[in-house]
């Protein structure tokens, strides 16, 4: 008999519950709306399971503490929003090059800078990909419901552990703050990072021993005494100068994500089999777009919806598979055009791609998306 239970949860609350289910034992954060509930609930729940919470002196320190905690073998997370996400970027890059698993929840609010605190927006989609300097891998997961806040937070931890990389869980303020029924299953797949064999004296923290681009990661204190640096490094973790070793390292850390993009991809398709008018929408916008698709279908328009739930890497293979009959793609976003750039790139000129952006700090009404669709789909 199923042990599933149904709970009424807020998005941020579901995020913490998912994190705990995934095995989170450490949280470091700094207050910022609209993500603060993630810190607050973590501070209540973590000590109950023997985990540890710390409110750091700033956003930068929170990201640093999360990386430090992860290196001791803990599953660690922080949460933030636009301005704080910007501050964390240097250390997110550190986690990427040092290959330290961790999860960063970034609840998008209207920017730039302090912007419209704290109205919903989707202005940090590019920051989630390119916020830190230099070439680096990026995984960004975007839930569209409270139930997905729960399940995809588990996925975020699993991906962080599996690919030994920081994973960003980013959605808009609406999903974070609304309340919905969530079905909690009794069984979820939980992934733990690969570790070297006990007593492996030849352990090198960056040697791709399994050929999957993901070296095992030993916890500090377990007897391996290795070196971690944000400098370019070789398999042994020690700094290297210009030359092939940096090239190999950098290509490997990017490829370990890009080469598994189809495996990482999470998406949903609605009415895409025969779609001629395809909407591509993420987060809360996907919900408004769904209503528009249903209305258009009722009116005889072959409309469909593609919802990417991994924004990075974008689910390119699945998206392209939807394009067979498509004559027009419409990308509604709560920004002035970010995800649309990736959609255009992947569409590759096969059909026109139109963007409809909204930056009033308010949600799309279905009318707005519908009217835009009617205008471009004459």
């Amino acid at each position: 008999m199923s042990q599933n239970k149904r709970l009424l949860l807020q998005g941020n609350e579901a995020c913490v519950m998912g994190a705990l289910r995934a095995g989170m034992t450490f949280f470091a954060g700094y207050p910022i709306t609209p993500s603060s509930e993630i810190a607050e609930i973590s501070s209540i729940e973590l000590p109950k399971v023997g985990g540890r919470f710390i409110q750091m002196e700033d956003e930068i320190a929170s990201m640093a503490a999360v990386i430090g905690a992860s290196l001791t073998g803990q599953k660690a997370m922080t949460a933030t929003s636009g301005p704080g996400f910007s501050l964390k970027q240097e250390n997110i890059g550190y986690a990427a090059i040092a290959e330290v698993p961790c999860v960063i929840a970034s609840i998008m609010r209207m920017g730039p800078s302090t912007g419209l605190p704290t109205s919903p927006a989707q202005g940090d989609i590019m920051q989630a990909r390119w916020g830190t300097h230099g070439d680096h891998p990026a995984i960004c997961i975007c839930p569209t419901s409270v139930a997905e806040m729960y399940e995809l937070t588990i996925t975020a931890f699993n991906y962080a552990e599996k690919y030994r990389t920081p994973v960003i869980l980013s959605t808009d303020e609406v999903i974070a703050h609304m309340r919905e029924g969530v079905e909690i299953k009794d069984d979820y797949e939980i992934v733990n990072r690969k570790q070297p064999a006990p007593g492996d004296t030849s352990y090198q923290p960056y040697a791709d021993v399994d050929g999957d681009g993901v070296p095992p990661l030993a916890p500090f204190g377990a007897g391996y005494r290795y070196h971690v640096t944000g400098l370019a490094h070789g398999d042994d973790g020690f700094p290297v100068g210009p030359g092939a070793k940096n090239d190999i390292m950098l290509r490997r850390i990017c490829a370990k994500v890009e080469d598994h993009a189809d495996e990482i991809a999470i998406y949903e398709t609605q009415f895409t089999e025969d779609a001629e008018l395809l909407f591509v929408a993420a987060g809360s916008v996907a919900r408004a777009a769904m209503a528009v698709v249903k209305r258009l279908r009722a009116e005889g328009v072959k409309a469909g919806l593609f919802i990417p739930k991994t924004l990075w890497p974008f689910p390119a293979t699945a998206y392209k598979a939807c394009l067979e009959n498509v004559k027009q793609v419409i990308v509604p976003e709560l920004n002035l055009g970010q995800m649309v750039l990736e959609v255009e790139r992947i569409t590759g000129g096969k059909c026109p791609v139109s963007h409809v952006g909204k930056v009033t700090g308010e949600l799309f009404s279905t009318e707005e998306i519908y009217d835009f669709a009617m205008a471009v789909n004459k």
Binding site: I67, G221, Y226
Partner: protein, 267 residues
């Protein structure tokens, strides 16, 4: 006792530091203190930020973490909080710890988390070729203060004492036995410990400020330093050497462990 070489990754030598740099002397004192206290290499973590002194952990045979500029204490806080059984040292420079990392410095002091911070103070940004730091004396010259530094320097001992560190001491690359002794006391202290190690950068501070080479700079420290005396607050020398704070206060990770027990969480 073991030799300091037993605690070094000798295959990573020679180091990158200039002739006459004080970093090696400070690391030597730290390794001798670690040896004297019998710390387990496997359970010891050395964290650093960015700068000349922050390259030290790469040569040291422990769990070592070379982080981002100014953030070593924040990374170390995560490590200690996540696994309080580890002994954690942070090696930092004057710029790394008190300029870009100044916020983390005062908050680590305030929490009294059991970390051992060694600030190697060479009065200058060495890695970037000699810009003035928060420890560059007023009037000294630097590549960004060629007309003389108008900034007032921090007193790291006063700063960290006021912020709540429970062990604060100052020694120098001339006062090596004191440096080792103070490091041992820092290890013994269950709380946040700060040791300012006054050091020398002949390449970028000594040369530009006409103090001379490494030997002259060492003599400069010798002639301009005085041992702290209990009850004396005014000194006529630049460098006051000694222990300034030795007190007992609740330690942060202990407090959290008690919090876990209070809410009935399993450890």
């Amino acid at each position: 006792m073991a030799t300091t070489l037993d605690y070094l990754r000798t295959n990573k030598l020679p180091h990158i530091w200039c002739p006459g740099c004080g970093n090696g002397t400070v690391i030597n004192a730290l390794l001798r203190a670690i040896d004297a206290k019998g710390l387990d290499k496997d359970k010891t973590v050395i964290v650093s930020g960015i700068g000349c002194s922050s390259r030290a952990p790469g040569y040291m045979d422990f769990n070592t973490l070379h982080t981002t500029h100014g953030r070593a204490l924040a990374f170390a806080t995560g490590i200690k909080m996540a696994n309080p059984e580890l002994t954690v040292f942070v090696i930092s420079g004057d710029g790394d710890s008190s300029a870009i990392g100044g916020n983390h410095l005062i908050h680590a002091c305030r929490r009294n988390i059991d970390l051992n911070l060694i600030i190697i103070n060479n009065n200058i940004y060495g890695m970037t070729s000699g810009q003035y730091s928060p420890l560059t004396p007023t009037g000294a010259t630097a590549t960004t203060a060629v007309y003389g530094n108008i900034d007032r320097p921090f007193d790291l001992v006063a700063l960290t004492s006021a912020a709540g560190a429970t062990y604060v001491a100052r020694a120098s690359t001339f006062h090596v036995p004191q440096l080792k002794t103070y490091m041992e006391r820092a290890i013994e202290n269950k709380g946040f410990s700060v040791i300012e190690a006054v050091s020398t950068c002949p390449t970028y501070f000594g040369r530009r400020n006409k103090i001379g080479d490494a030997v002259n700079m060492m003599n400069y420290i010798k002639e301009n330093s005085v041992m702290r005396k209990e009850g004396v607050t005014e000194y006529d020398k630049t460098y006051v050497i000694g222990e300034f704070v030795k007190k007992v206060a609740p330690e942060y990770t202990d407090n959290y462990t008690q919090l876990i027990e209070r809410v009935g969480g399993k450890k």
